[in-house]
């Protein structure tokens, strides 16, 4: 049997995998990109970031239309054509995945549809066919965690099936109040579901700044979302009429729902490719450990993205993908940063990077905090924005930014300035002395800096 050979093979065509494949091709390698999906783009494009953002946009339009009643403009109750909305969303996804196919072709990347599995340190099997390779990148991502002991029921969804937009359930329960759960709540609440979020931790968006999360929590409740924090689902009963979730903790009782989304996190997919056959170390959770250069314990095999553990975020995967490609080509690449931004595309958005005050306190890191409330932002009020805040954590000696949290409209976009500021080692003064256009939401970052320096005149 003839053995196929790949100089550089990337397993998985998500945002990490295709970025890696394309960068490697640009650097002159002969690249093979393997993925079982019909379309490139992985979870991010096909059933994650992009379709969720399309639906969140629709949700935002619905909400905006309602809010402008105060402004003397009314549209009446929205009529939602679910099929058309789904088609629109699918069309956007298709447009982007087709775009990727074009980019792959232009780079002469050999795209192979199939499921790959290692057979040795330089051997693979792709749908039964034997392959050899010089260097490989494991970029097989993660999957939604399935809670054990739950019944098999098609009314129980994960984030992927929730984004298929099968129907708008009258009562929707979401187990897990992390970023994914909150985005699902934002979408389905706008589409008309009565949403209940059940979160095990003391706050929704665990890991984010508690003060900012409080603002989001209150707004979600105003939108009609019921939130049970510090609460655990102990049993799920499926009857014809409904799914019954028995809860214990801060909320003791039953939540009845017509559909439930499990959004309790994602687990790494490392085991899917049998990395042990190549000698690649993998832990019980399916995570493959890598160093800053994205190398595994085996010299010619790299791993990137969700399969390398937390934070499981597309933008981290993309950067790792570039690093792996560059290192494979002998360049001195490395992911040498701790500043990976997190964004919840809720309404309002919640975005943060670096240290939050609670963590700084817990680790005994000297720090101070400065806040600028969006109630004092002209741009926010003039564009119908609600409660929001820009909060900076900084070093009291050097005045360098240690972390930032923004809650409010477009927080995800605004955060980029602060990520760059932190990467450049900018101080409060650097930000305060940088002219921010007026009136913008970005001014709130300069205002928070000025407030810390005592030079603010807008409050």
């Amino acid at each position: 049997m003839a053995v196929n050979h790949a100089e550089f093979v990337v397993l998985g065509a998500g945002p990490g995998g295709y970025a890696c494949a394309f960068r490697a091709a640009d650097l002159g390698l002969n690249v093979t990109l393997v993925d079982p999906r019909a379309d490139l783009g992985g979870v991010c494009l096909n059933e994650g970031c992009i379709p969720s953002k399309a639906l969140l946009h629709a949700a935002e339009v619905i909400r905006e239309a309602r809010h402008v009643g105060d402004w003397g403009i009314s549209f009446g109750e929205p009529k939602i054509d679910l099929n058309k909305l789904r088609e629109k969303k699918n069309g956007i996804v298709k447009h982007l995945t087709d775009g990727l196919t074009g980019l792959a072709k232009r780079r002469k990347v050999n795209v192979v549809r199939g499921t790959a599995s290692f057979t040795g340190p330089t051997g693979l099997e792709i749908d039964g066919a034997a392959w050899s390779f010089d260097q490989a990148v494991i970029a097989v991502g993660s999957s939604p965690v399935r809670l054990p002991g739950w019944p098999d029921d098609e009314r129980i969804w994960d984030s992927g099936s929730a984004l298929e937009l099968r129907q708008v359930p009258k009562r929707l329960a979401i187990v897990g109040g992390g970023i994914i759960g909150l985005e699902m709540a934002t979408i389905y609440a706008a589409l008309g579901s009565n949403v209940t979020i059940i979160e095990f931790m003391e706050q929704i968006a665990p890991g984010a700044d508690a003060e900012a999360v409080r603002i989001l929590h209150d707004v979600l409740q105003q939108q009609g979302v019921i939130i049970h924090t510090g609460t655990k689902v102990v049993e799920v009963k499926a009857t014809k009429a409904a799914l019954g979730l028995s809860c214990e903790g801060v909320f003791d009782g039953e939540v009845k729902a017509d559909a439930v989304i499990q959004a309790v996190g994602r687990s790494a997919n490392g085991h899917l490719v049998n990395p042990q056959a190549a000698g690649v170390a993998i832990d019980a959770r399916g995570i493959i450990a890598v160093d800053a250069t994205c190398r595994t314990n085996v010299d010619n095999i790299f791993a990137i993205g969700d399969v390398t553990g937390n934070p499981m975020l597309a933008h981290r995967a993309t950067h790792q993908g570039h690093v792996a490609a560059e290192v494979a080509c002998g360049h001195a690449g490395a992911l040498d940063t701790d500043f990976i931004p997190s964004v919840a595309y809720t309404s309002p958005e919640l975005a943060w990077v670096g240290l939050i005050a609670a963590t700084a306190k817990e680790r005994g890191i000297p720090h101070k905090v400065s806040r600028f409330p969006w109630a004092a932002s002209g741009r926010n009020l003039a564009s119908g924005g609600g409660d929001g805040m820009t909060k900076l954590v900084y070093d009291p000696d050097t005045k360098r930014i240690l972390g930032a949290t923004i809650i409010g409209r477009n927080a995800g976009e605004l955060l980029a300035e602060l990520v760059l500021a932190m990467e450049m080692g900018a101080t409060l003064e650097d930000i305060a002395l940088t002219v921010h256009a007026h009136p913008t939401l970005s001014e709130t970052i300069a205002f928070a800096s000025e407030r810390a320096l005592g030079t603010l005149t807008d409050l």
């Binding site: 001195a332 040498d336 450049m424 080692g425």
Partner: protein, 292 residues
């Protein structure tokens, strides 16, 4: 998070050039590094920390074996390298007549034995140095890191460099100006003995006005000791020797002890060092003056 600030592109350049930014920042005495710093940082880790000079395969020239440097020795090595690099030091040489001290020491011998104290020449040197420091307060001082302030010390503590199987350590005798010879001799004996067993407590080191490093028991005619920062000077002593000294009419056999004063030229100039040493030489030659 690293304490060194460098933008992502500067970090990328450093990676490419295999420059350790932490080390480069330390070498440049800064916390913020720019593209120019890294570009000027030449071509590798060698430029930053000089390892290229030591990165030699010695076995190509003949059989070798290796032993690890103890943590203790590594710290001492770093301190010495920093002192030698950072301090523009000059060593002033002189010698002092120790006949009076030796005579006095012999006279006190029975009492020393009775007290169970070993009265060494070093005890006299320590006492004499304390007196000289009182006379020359600018020698009992430290320069601030930014070079803008001189801190004058109103106490007189003398460090004694001690050689031990573990390496070099410098226990400090406190308030030497307020102590009598017996007490000083007892302190020296106690600290030197404990240093041999590495039992000197951290609070018994540091804070000296000046350090004495005494090779008198071993030999030598002169050496150039390295100043122990943040002190401004160090007094080296080698073996006393009967030397023919011209008394104006004839040569006299006189026991003379060589003294080597290394000093920080940023604060002390050559004339001051000569005055200080001359004063010290006179005190040693006539220890009664220590009391005056």
């Amino acid at each position: 998070m690293s304490d060194v600030t460098a933008s992502p592109s500067v970090r990328a350049l450093a990676r490419e050039k295999q420059i350790d930014l932490e080390i480069l920042a330390k070498d440049l005495g800064r916390t913020t590094l720019t593209r120019e710093d890294v570009a000027a940082g030449a071509s590798g880790p060698a430029a930053a920390d000089g390892t290229i000079y030591w990165d030699v395969d010695h076995s190509q020239y003949g059989p070798v074996s290796e032993e690890p440097m103890s943590r203790f020795a590594q710290v001492a090595a770093q301190n010495l390298a920093a002192a030698q690099t950072l301090i523009p030091a000059v060593t002033h040489h002189d010698r002092a007549d120790v006949s009076a001290i030796e005579t006095f020491r012999k006279a006190l011998k029975p009492e020393a034995e009775a007290r169970g104290v070993k009265l060494t020449g070093l005890a006299f040197q320590v006492k004499a140095l304390a007196r000289a420091l009182k006379e020359f307060p600018r020698f009992n001082a430290s320069l601030s890191a930014d070079g803008k302030t001189l801190t004058l010390k109103h106490y007189i503590h003398i460090g004694i460099a001690v050689d031990s199987p573990f390496g070099l350590s410098v226990p400090v005798i406190r308030d030497v100006d307020k102590k009598g010879l017996w007490e000083i001799a007892a302190d020296i004996g106690d600290l030197a003995a404990r240093a041999q067993e590495r039992k000197v407590r951290p609070n018994e080191m540091g804070g000296a006005s000046m350090t004495i490093t005494n090779l008198g028991g071993i030999g030598g005619t002169a050496f150039s000791p390295i100043v122990n920062p943040p002190e401004l000077a160090i007094l080296g002593i080698t073996r006393a020797e009967i030397t023919p000294i011209w008394d104006g009419e004839m040569f006299q056999p006189v026991p003379m002890v060589p003294l080597d004063l290394s000093y920080d030229h940023r604060v002390i100039n050559g004339a001051d060092a000569a005055r200080f040493t001359t004063y010290l030489v006179n005190l040693i030659a006539d220890p009664r003056r220590i009391m005056v």
